[in-house]
Symmetry: C2
Subunit: 308 residues, 2 copies
């Protein structure tokens, strides 16, 4: 059994402890590229970086089309990996798109993305989870503050903080359509949350997380450490947001007419594969946390294809 | 019976019609002050204006103290004019503070405020509604888009668009703590909403408005007219936001640690007093819509007092 470096949900009260892993896992990250030394510095310090207009033009159009047609294809399907709005039956998320043997699988292996993940994580990588998300205008729901790593560690058995989320933003994100909010520097601290994980917690937590969320005092403390700042991932469609597995993030609801959609890949180091969940509970399903036949990604070159 | 110039909630579908009243009701507004011609232009064009840091220093501190102590005084009181959070019993709003025969009554008559209302509304004015609001951090609820005038007209019998809201902001408002959002220029159009007003609608509509809210197509159209822009009332504590009775506004929830509080006065022209509600229903209670003993405000000079 691997030592639990980040116990959580084991006490009745919350506690904040220091992160025990580096943020940049590669000594040569600042000279290797593709991210510049300044970009690596920013990511290390803040726990996220927005690469504006990473995808553009025809390639961005293609991405949007693929998202729309995948949504449409799944409209009348049911399955645990398809999350629908309880009231309207509209699709909100489709998981495991990196195994579609088609467009999104190819995108997840895109060498322009994978080389950045390798630069940061200091090893080959694989996809731990993927999904496409569609959040409608007018009725987009809030998502409360959380660290993904806390859940991945406790419920999935991810041993170390050596993973990151890559969100390819497919709609313009404004201040007023519920952009992702991030607490700068929060990835340097680990909030051991209070309470215990219920069985099959994921069945409700995908819509509203009840355990594993930080208490208000911890959140106040984290925001204080950031000098009172909360950053928002606003930018044009085609931007790519990278955020560290332990960065505290959330989003307000969206009453604007503007929907938000994105493609979401979680890259994990091949040296950080999942163990048994530290909660002692059953692992979550494969579509939420990949543990079968894990192989490092062999990057593919997409750009020429997209332009052909 | 006064002619209903702004019928609403009378059809099964929504419709957008032109505003039939001026926004600036005073021919000499641009030369009279206290607002400058540029400020009057901005208000006329957009339907709101934020006067940054209107109250400052000791006067602002006093305002905050009075709000806090009024909240405390009412903590263990009950009444229809005290709105509490259903789950926690915490106070969210206290109405009718302009009749407290003390600080807030005096503030509502402040000549620095009243002279602006007279400049815009072109007559003497009175307070139609007042309240202090406290929205906590972390769990501040969203408030969906609405025009106040639509409710004031249908449920209270306000004949014309000749009123405005004055919100004295007592906390710093950031992009990320759920600031009021406004659609520029929306006050020039009137959305006749669909449906019918239930009896005693106010009992639920103060927490969540169900009728009188614009449909999504109308909201899209209004935001399109504004070139896709939605403005946010962000600024330091002590700022004063003025917005026209018919300006479409709303706010997202607030998951940040930062609470929001304000003092809210609705000034109406003395020539625009309430008639019978155009819904044909019973009028709402006095604390929501003043109709008893209406007298024009005799402005008072507070600043010297505050500084003494």
């Amino acid at each position: 059994m691997v030592k639990d470096l980040y116990p959580s949900r084991v006490n009745e009260t919350s506690q904040i402890v220091r992160r025990q892993d580096p943020v940049i896992h590669n000594e040569n990250a600042r000279t290797e590229g593709p991210l510049s030394a300044e970009e690596i510095d920013f990511y290390e310090e803040n726990g996220y970086i927005l690469l504006k207009s990473f995808f553009q033009g025809e390639e961005l159009q293609k991405l949007k089309q693929e998202l729309d047609s995948t949504m449409e294809d799944h409209q009348h399907k049911e399955g645990p990996d398809i999350i629908k709005e309880p009231s309207s039956n509209e699709i909100r998320s489709i998981f495991e798109v990196h195994k579609d043997k088609s467009y999104f699988e190819n995108l997840s292996k895109d060498e322009r993305l994978v080389s950045i993940m390798e630069q940061i994580l200091g090893s080959q990588v694989y996809i731990n989870q993927s999904r496409i998300n569609f959040k409608p205008g007018f009725k987009g729901k809030e998502f409360y503050w959380h660290s993904d790593f806390e859940t991945w560690h406790v419920e999935d058995g991810m041993p170390r903080m050596r993973a990151l989320s890559c969100s390819i933003v497919l709609t313009d994100n404004y201040e007023y359509n519920g952009p992702l909010m991030l607490v700068p520097g929060s990835h340097k601290w680990y909030v051991q949350t209070a309470g215990e994980t219920p069985d099959n917690n994921f069945e409700s937590s995908l819509q509203k997380q009840e355990v594993g969320v930080p208490d208000e005092d911890s959140m106040r403390w984290l925001v204080d450490q950031a000098g009172g700042r909360i950053d928002r991932a606003t930018g044009p469609a085609g931007s790519v947001l990278l955020f560290e597995s332990n960065t505290m993030h959330g989003s307000a609801g969206n009453i604007s007419p503007y929907p938000r959609s994105n493609v979401f890949f979680v890259y994990n180091s091949i040296e950080n594969k999942l163990e048994q969940p530290f909660s002692g509970k059953e692992p979550r399903p494969e579509f939420l946390a990949n543990r079968e036949n894990i192989q490092p990604i062999q990057p593919v070159s997409n750009k020429s294809t997209a332009r052909s």
